[in-house]
């Protein structure tokens, strides 16, 4: 039985049932948040650490959650922030003479399952070639099917800007795949 957001919030707000609430929160959102983080970071171990940190932050700062926004919007915001922080750390660790796009494409190749289709691999490489904001908007819209209004709350951008960003991102990805697809 799927537990509703209202129940999770009620459990989290009561100190006696907080642990039960954290478990319910993870059961409900771990998969969606994991894939959102994984698509940004790509590296599996770092994505796991980042998701853990997301849930711990959510538990520690639950008193800051306002009921006027959706629970998943609030969680996506934390997860996105944590993932972007992790990406910045990775960039600092990266060799200065290495091309960032080439680095990300190598990371994608290393983390992809053996049976993945070429077109899917190309799509991931195309996403990694996008600027940070376009990448975020595209992933939340394309994979998670989030409404622009909710994405707007997560990334602090207007709905109009988001639509433009998504349009440009989609165009670049399609061009990238046309250029690189061999079949």
């Amino acid at each position: 039985m799927k537990i509703k957001d209202a129940e999770i919030i009620s459990l989290m707000q009561n100190p006696r049932t907080q642990e039960k609430g954290v478990r319910a929160l993870m059961d409900a959102y771990q998969s969606r948040l994991y894939w959102h983080i994984r698509r940004i970071i790509v590296d599996g171990d770092l994505a796991q650490d980042t998701l853990q940190e997301t849930f711990i932050k959510a538990y520690q700062n639950f008193h800051q959650f306002k009921n006027d926004s959706q629970l998943y919007t609030w969680l996506y915001r934390i997860a996105t922030n944590e993932a972007l922080q992790q990406v910045n750390k990775m960039k600092k660790m990266q060799k200065t003479d290495e091309d960032p796009e080439y680095y990300m494409q190598n990371l994608v190749a290393d983390n992809t399952a053996g049976d993945a289709e070429e077109i899917q691999l190309l799509l991931q490489n195309a996403i990694q070639s996008l600027p940070e904001k376009q990448k975020l908007v595209f992933m939340m819209r394309y994979y998670d099917d989030l409404p622009y209004e909710e994405i707007s709350k997560i990334v602090d951008m207007s709905v109009g800007t988001l639509k433009t960003n998504y349009h440009y991102a989609k165009q670049k990805i399609e061009e990238f795949i046309k250029e690189n697809y061999e079949k």
Partner: protein, 177 residues
Amino acid sequence: MKEFDIEKLERKNIYKVPDDLFQNIQDNVMNEVKTEKKVPVFKLNWMYAAAASLALIFGATYVFNSDNDPAKDMLNPQSYASNMQKPKTESERAYETLEADLTSVENNNQTIANQETKPVSYTPEKGNENVTERKPVKATSKKEDTKMNEYLDSFSNSEISELASNSTQDVYLDLYN
């Protein structure tokens, strides 16, 4: 490829995922949550805080108002300067130690003069009739030593050896009996 629409492409997650990924994540998060809950939060009762503050104020007032306050003297530069002594050198300290040692010997009356004037005597135990009474032995002077040497010179070698054997026995008896 001429025409391509990504909206028509199937949404797939192509990355490798380890077994028990979400179970591990949940375990790690719950461990962290439980650890955070166990950490005790120290709440200061305002009554105790007020009592501690009052005690501190009265204590400080008492210390600063007392006349025999060494801290107060230390704060006065003149008294501090008068109390201050120059640090002693190593030779001065060695001399003082030696002087103290000599003084301690003097205090115990262990001077040569005391040793010469006091006669060494042996007092026999009461009821022991076999022991002969001995006169107190006086420490010999230099004049007596020279007389003794002249007297010994007058003896022949054989006589001296005979005397020596007797005297050894006497000394032995004197020391250990």
